[in-house]
C-alpha cells in the first residue's frame, strides 16, 4: 500500500509483466486476466496502473482484467470451512498478510477446533488466469 510509484504492488506488477513477456515474447497487443485473492488484499488501482506503465515502456498495448476472488479457509483437522470475511484482524496483521499471505497461520486458528492446520483453498494472492495474444 502507499503511493503508487513506491509500494510493493509494483513488484507484483513486474512479475505479471515478466510472465506476459515470457508467454508472448513478440506480441505487441496482449490481454491479461489476473485473479486477485482477497487474503493478500492487493490494491487493484495501483496494480493496474503499474502494469500499464511497465507495458507502455516496452511498447506493448495491454488490456488488464482484474478479478477478485473471495478467500475460503478449510481446516485439515476437523474439515470446517469458513470465510475470511467472518474474521477480524487488526491493521498490523492485515499488513503482514498483505506481504506474505501464509503468515495468516501465525494469527488465525480454526474457529471450530482451534487448529492452525488449515488451508487457504481459495483467494490467496496473485495468479495469471489468462494471457492471450494473436
Amino acid at each position: 500500500m502507499g503511493a503508487a510509484r513506491v509500494v510493493h504492488e509494483w513488484a507484483l506488477a513486474e512479475a505479471i509483466a515478466d510472465y506476459v513477456f515470457k508467454s508472448a515474447p513478440s506480441a505487441k497487443r496482449v490481454r491479461v486476466t489476473v485473479r486477485l485473492g482477497e487474503l493478500q488484499a492487493v490494491d487493484e488501482g495501483i496494480l493496474k496502473f503499474a502494469l500499464r506503465e511497465i507495458m507502455k515502456s516496452e511498447g506493448i498495448a495491454c488490456e488488464v482484467v482484474l478479478k477478485r476472488e473471495d478467500c475460503v479457509l478449510k481446516c485439515r483437522r476437523c474439515g470446517h470451512e469458513w470465510l475470511l470475511k467472518e474474521v477480524e484482524f487488526g491493521e498490523e496483521v492485515r499488513e503482514a498478510i498483505h506481504f506474505v499471505p501464509e503468515v495468516v497461520h501465525s494469527y488465525l486458528k480454526c474457529p471450530k477446533c482451534g487448529s492452525r492446520d488449515f488451508e487457504v483453498i481459495k483467494g490467496r494472492g496473485v495468479w495469471v488466469e489468462e494471457v492471450s495474444w494473436e
Binding site: W10, Y19, A96, F99, E102, Y107, D117
Partner: protein
C-alpha cells in the same frame, strides 16, 4: 492466426530479474539440524561485508526462522517499500526474513505453503547490487531446500558438518543429492564445532570431490554473543568464519 493462451504463477517469472545483479548465491545447507547453519550464515554475511563485499542474507528456514535472533534484528516494523520490499540493513548486511511478518508467533505450514512463501519472498525482495546472497536453510530435504535447488539459476552450496556420526550420515545423503545437481567445484564443506584434529569431514569432502574450506572451532562464548553484532564480531567463532570468508572471496 488464432488466439494463444497461457496461465500460471507470475512470481516464478520475475525471480531471474530479482537476482540479475546478484553475483554469487551461497545457500548454507545441512540436512542435520543444530550444526550451526544459522550462526554460520549470519557470521559469514557479516565477515564478507566487513571485507567490502555487498552482502544480502535471506532466512529461508520458513517455519523456524532464527537468523533475526542472532542478528538482534528489530521485528517491530515492516521493511520499507520501494517498488518491492527493501531488506533493512543490519550490521551492513541486507537482511530478509519471514519473521518480519510472522513475528515470534508459530508459523506452522504445509510444504506447498512453504513453497508459496519462498516464491513470494523471492518475487518481491529488491536486493539490488550484491556480491553475495547468503541463504540460511532448514534441516531435512524438503520444500525450502528443493526450492533453492530449483529456483536459483546458479548457486554455490556451503555444506555445514560436525564430526558426529549422526551428522555424517545426514551430510552424506545431502552431498549425494548436491553432487548430482551442482558441479563439484561449486560445492564446499565447512566443519563446525571442531574440537580436535579429526579428519572425518575433510575426508568426506574429498570422497565426494567437493571443496573443503576448513574448520570453525567450538567457541564456548558464542551463545552469549547472540543478538549483539558487536559481541559476535569479537567472538572466536567470528575469527574462524572470517578465514572461511577470505577463501570464498
Amino acid at each position: 492466426m488464432g488466439v494463444m493462451v497461457s496461465q500460471g504463477d507470475p512470481r516464478l517469472a520475475v525471480i531471474g530479474r530479482r537476482l540479475a545483479r546478484v553475483a554469487r548465491v551461497v545457500p548454507v545447507m545441512s540436512s542435520k539440524g543444530g550444526v550451526g547453519k544459522t550462526l554460520l550464515s549470519c557470521l559469514l554475511a557479516l565477515a564478507l561485508s566487513e571485507r567490502g563485499a555487498r552482502v544480502g542474507l535471506l532466512d529461508l528456514d520458513v517455519t523456524n526462522p532464527t537468523a533475526h535472533v542472532v542478528l538482534g534484528a528489530d521485528l517491530s516494523k515492516f521493511p520499507e517499500e520501494d517498488r518491492g520490499v527493501v531488506p533493512p540493513l543490519i550490521g551492513g548486511v541486507k537482511f530478509m526474513s519471514v519473521a518480519y511478518y510472522s513475528g515470534e508467533n508459530p508459523l506452522p505450514l504445509r510444504g506447498w505453503e512453504i513453497d508459496n512463501v519462498v516464491r513470494e519472498v523471492l518475487a518481491v525482495t529488491i536486493w539490488g547490487d550484491l556480491d553475495f546472497l547468503v541463504i540460511d536453510t532448514p534441516p531435512g530435504i524438503g520444500d525450502e531446500v528443493l526450492d533453492v535447488l530449483s529456483y536459483f539459476p546458479k548457486h554455490e552450496p556451503l555444506v555445514v558438518a560436525t564430526p558426529s556420526p549422526l551428522t555424517v550420515a545426514s551430510v552424506r545423503r545431502l552431498l549425494k543429492l548436491l553432487t548430482e545437481a551442482v558441479k563439484g567445484e561449486l560445492i564446499r564443506v565447512v566443519e563446525n564445532m571442531a574440537r580436535d584434529d579429526s579428519d572425518i569431514i575433510a575426508d568426506l569432502a574429498k570422497k565426494f570431490h567437493v571443496g573443503f574450506l576448513g574448520k570453525v572451532r567450538f567457541d564456548e562464548g558464542v551463545d552469549r554473543a547472540v543478538g549483539d553484532i558487536d559481541a559476535l564480531r569479537r567472538s572466536r567463532m567470528y575469527k574462524d568464519v572470517s578465514m572461511i570468508a577470505e577463501k570464498l572471496l
